[in-house]
Amino acid sequence: MMNVNPLISEIAQASGENVQACYQCQKCSAGCPVAYAMDILPNQVLRHIQYDHKEKVLGSKTIWICASCYACSVRCPNNIDIAKIMDTLREIAIRSGIKPGEKDVPIFHSVFLDTIRSKGRIHELSLILQFKTKTKDFFKDASLGWKMYRKGKIKLFPSKFGGGREIKEIFNSFEKGKQ
């Protein structure tokens, strides 16, 4: 790609998507179910990328609020996979250590991955307890948890699994890649 700013190239390299193709028709934002909760709209994210406003984009709430529903991606007249770009932006944001616009969402993802690393599978109860320990919000959904337990939906102990060595290797190379 010629004469583009560093953020456009970084995104193109990581995702294969061409942000320059966006001509601001705003169809992505019009159909986005979570647009109301965003601080910058999906079409604005693309515009900020075109202007190389890296911190604005990486520090936004938007990249964490995107629910990855792909409504934008399928409707873009220029075939830009916007949901995929959101993934790439989250990746770059985590790597760059910028303060996230949404506090709890990145914590959730990191706890989720820690659970896979230690248990191979997601044991929902461990995931919830760990997340609550990190966010110090112990009472939210407590009564719902009890209701679910009574309906036999909460498994108390994680299941045993093989493949621990391979999972360890996958996470080791992920850690190496981060450096």
Partner: protein, 283 residues
């Protein structure tokens, strides 16, 4: 007996156990022998692809490598897992991504709803149906990843899908047209931004109620959990009151095919479906 590989995924070993039990039950009646992948691990789901692409592909591909050892279709009931597997397959096939284990991209990856909508299976369902779901008005809720992105799912009618509606018709139910078939419930934001899930899921239930559905049918454990477990909250959010059973398509298949454990599966729901089905004389 047809042999099929099976990847249940983490939810089906926990909150979505009735989905797992009903998929297994229905498969048995239809002459499908499910082989759960040995030592399967989490696909990375909602979090790996937000963190690191290589990690996301490795976590999914490890399971595909296990599946590839036996030439069989791989049945996946959780649509989030399915989506991650399809991404990994695409990366390996189209971009020849190198992995630390042997996976060539040769496993037919099948999402449960698509799998059970294959013509030969539908023919079998027609033959074995013992209790048509007569008079049961359903709205089919596909959600996001069952249909999008179509480059991965292969679904042609991704804005207005109809395959679950057809399955429901074959079961004898009455699928109602509505406009929230493929809208998002808020999915994994439930732990972190529950307010968003309340608003999105509340809207979906409002529309299901307006369509006068007796129940909503889904094939996604996350959608099921968001819509089934917190109907009081969702009602408060949108100024309404909800009591709409949320059923897995496989549970309704079990009911129509006369599986003896159907009632057991339904007991795991937070919003009671037995009353509504009983009122129609179906249970």
């Amino acid at each position: 007996m047809k042999e099929v590989s099976y990847y249940p995924g983490c939810s089906l070993h926990g909150t979505a156990r009735e989905y797992d039990e009903s998929i297994r039950g229905v498969s048995e009646i239809l002459g499908l022998h499910l082989h759960e992948l040995e030592d399967w691990t989490c696909c990375g789901a909602s979090s790996a692809h937000c963190t690191d692409e290589v990690l996301a592909i490795d976590l999914a591909a490890r399971n595909l490598a296990i599946a590839e050892k036996t030439p069989r279709e791989l049945l996946i009931p959780c649509v989030a897992c399915y989506s991650r597997f399809k991404v990994a397959e695409k990366e390996v096939k189209e971009h020849s991504k190198k992995l630390s284990f042997s996976y060539q991209g040769n496993v037919p990856i099948r999402y449960s709803l698509d799998f059970f909508c294959d013509e030969p299976i539908l023919e079998e369902v027609k033959k074995k149906r013992v209790k048509p779901l007569k008079g049961l008005k359903v709205v089919c809720y596909y959600g996001c990843l069952t249909v999008r992105p179509p480059q991965l799912t292969g679904i042609k009618r991704y804005e207005d899908p109809t395959h679950m509606d057809r399955l429901m018709e074959i079961l004898g139910a009455d699928p109602i047209p509505w406009s929230y078939k493929a809208d998002c419930c808020g999915a994994s934001l439930v732990m972190t931004r529950t307010d968003i899930v309340r608003r999105l899921s509340g809207k979906i239930l409002s529309m299901a109620k307006e369509a006068e559905a007796d129940c909503l049918v889904t094939g996604c454990p996350m959608c099921h959990s968001n819509l089934d477990t917190r109907q009081d909250e969702l009602g408060k959010e949108v100024g309404d009151h909800f009591d709409i059973p949320i059923l897995y398509f496989s549970e309704l298949m079990g009911l129509a095919l006369g599986h003896k454990d159907t009632k057991k599966w339904l007991h795991h729901h937070i919003t009671d479906p037995i009353k509504a089905l009983g009122g129609k004389g179906l249970i």
